[in-house]
Symmetry: C2
Subunit: 149 residues, 2 copies
């Protein structure tokens, strides 16, 4: 039961569930990919503009992706993504945060290169426990069209 | 010896060094954050449009960030980043790839909210061993201005 581009509805918002952020995970990601002081060390984080340890912005993107993959991509006829626009880190991600993911299909356009595909335009968001926005982004994905019988 | 916004020159390109990609690292990142078949399993990758295991696009971003942090951010008076625009994944990242990072300062604008800061606009790029582009993005960062004596 593959899901094709026809199975996604323009204007519809999909709930992606929640992600619990731990200090250990923030430090692990920071050490590997973004070893700025406030991403790897709680004490140095305290002395920074963030007043504490915060996740790398790329780590916050990765958390969003995990929610998106688990909620919407199993069985999807997805053919990769050309990229992302308007990615904004609006509030820091901190240990103990519980982030909620949401994704809205904002447009569906024919692929310029592949007649069997269309590009899905989506607006993604993570919010914190108080409903305040933590991250927003515009994502594109290539999806296959449902084959004709 | 902090580096302030005045220490970055508009139009200058900075070399960020190289990143060697391993299969183990691709699978580890994929399992945690982007468990689509072609990011976690070499055999399933073979059957996909990528004809092999490829890194999550977010993983490629994280590799770029590591090069950028190591090359340019130690001692930088950086105050976080509002976000990214025009992120494009142009070629897949595969096990064994050696990626080269490059960053060009494309603009410096006064901060709207903090008179002691300016926003650096940068265009980043990863290329493969043949010099072909793998990823491009526009990054913004807040930097402090050099304090007056």
């Amino acid at each position: 039961m593959l899901r094709y581009v026809e199975d996604y509805e323009k204007g519809r918002t999909y709930e992606l569930g929640t992600y619990k952020v731990t200090e250990q995970e923030i430090i692990e990601f920071g050490r590997k990919y973004d070893p700025q002081p406030y991403h790897v060390n709680a004490e140095q984080g305290e002395e920074s503009l963030f007043h504490g340890l915060v996740a790398s912005g790329w780590h916050t993107c990765a958390m969003f992706m995990r929610l998106y993959v688990d909620a919407l991509l199993p069985g999807a006829a997805v053919e990769g993504s050309p990229g992302v626009d308007e990615l904004r880190w609006l509030r820091p991600t901190r240990p103990g945060d519980v982030l909620t993911g949401r994704l809205t299909v904002t447009g569906i356009t024919p692929s310029m290169t592949r007649p069997d595909c269309a590009t899905l335009h989506k607006r993604g968001e993570l919010t914190d426990a108080e409903g305040l926005p933590v991250m927003r982004l515009t994502l594109y994905s290539m999806f296959r069209r449902r084959p004709r019988e």
